[in-house]
Symmetry: C2
């Protein structure tokens, strides 16, 4: 029997922010595995399903659980928030999958917080950008610092994931201080909390002020590049299109 596990990015949370492909993978699953909070975010539509949750920081056991369920002949879907391949479980599933060569892995892409957050803020990512997680659970702070510097020197728009947590209250402040060595304090920035969930809140400010703002593990932070501006409360990164003069377009009727 052919065994497949679907590794599904559910987007920020709302069902209508999932792709059709992701909804279908969950509809067809016998068992849905995921971090408790994400399973709770799944709409009424999936509540009849067998759900298996493992707490945070137990990523490896959550993965093994998927293979164990698949070996029982069940159709398994592993849900991750956003995109399953971005700070998600996809790569760990492939690593552990070496022990289960009879099981095929299928990643179903989703809308990551950089994209869903940008849509709320305006258009901050409209040129080259990078994502950096401020969580040092799995990454030494020196590497995070090196990436912040590289991103600032490269004039990328920067999206910060996991900007803060109970144990890392001052990490956004620390990141801003590093960026301020390269970037001017008036740089246009913004942040979004609870994207696609209850209580979505978006703010824009300068890099100078950003470090003092209250953020949490559900906040995504955006630092503009040298072409970014705040326009009527929106964060916009210009692409610098030249004005076009000669109008010429076709209609289908």
């Amino acid at each position: 029997m052919e065994r497949k596990i679907y590794i599904v990015g559910m987007g920020p949370g709302r069902e209508d922010m999932m792709t059709g492909e992701a909804v279908r993978a969950l509809d067809q699953a016998d068992v849905i595995v995921g971090y408790t909070v994400y399973l709770e975010l799944l709409g009424q539509r999936f509540q009849g399903k067998e759900m298996v949750s493992a707490p945070m920081r137990r990523e490896e056991e959550r993965c093994r659980l998927c293979f164990i369920e698949a070996q029982k002949g069940k159709r398994v879907a592993l849900v991750c928030s956003g995109d399953a391949g971005i700070y998600g479980m996809a790569s760990l599933m492939y690593e552990i999958g070496r022990e289960y060569p009879e099981t095929e892995l299928v990643v179903v892409a989703g809308v990551t917080a950089a994209c869903s957050g940008a849509a709320v803020l305006g258009a901050p990512l409209n040129h080259d950008f990078c994502t950096i997680s401020l969580s040092d659970l799995l990454t030494p702070w020196e590497v995070i610092e090196r990436r912040l510097k590289g991103a600032a020197r490269g004039d990328f728009v920067i999206v910060l994931y996991n900007p803060s947590s109970r144990k890392r209250r001052d990490y956004l402040r620390r990141a801003c201080d590093i960026l301020l060595r390269v970037i001017e304090g008036s740089r246009a920035c913004g942040y979004v909390e609870n994207i696609g969930r209850e209580g979505t809140r978006a703010e824009v400010c300068t890099l100078e002020k950003l470090g003092d703002r209250e953020v949490n593990m559900f906040t995504t932070v955006f630092i503009g590049n040298s072409d970014s501006i705040i326009l009527n409360g929106r964060l916009i990164t210009k692409r610098g299109y030249g004005i076009e003069r000669n109008i010429d377009f076709r209609r289908n009727h």
Copy 2:
């Protein structure tokens, strides 16, 4: 009358890779505006709609067209491939929107090629990454070069958009040569052509070989970071989770 224009990311092309929100925005539109190729990609579902297409390089007129149609009282959706905010039309719409203060802009996020391409290749983005467009139509090559160096020094996974075109055949080669000054030739890389469309094709190779590969404007290129590996033909970026010993999970039944 309240006027809204929806700026919709359609994902890579297949309708089931669009979000429910994006499908709804197009369903409810009186007129769908977009680059010819994207309008043709839209499924049977939308073919009854009034469609207005403007050719490539006419981004500004395509945007103005949306506001003109909205002023006629029509519900307008502007489609972009991938995510409308990533190398898309969102920021230009906000800039031109200054002239049309009575029209509200709503960006509907979509799955960008970095995410959809990563899902085909395996899990190459599973840590901090950046996107860089190799198109120098709107960006001086010096800026692109600066970003390539910043990304390599920061040890980011790098996703290259627009790696080549008829007029820029050697740009991927040029980009690889710049990266090879900082990154070893054996670095794990990959690329995907026609994501979510007819003839999807994915390949993995080393950075050394990447510059010689045939790519086109429908190819998305991935350069791994120092933790990336090629595993059974997949490109995987390790997150380095520690092994967990004590199994402890809950079932809903």
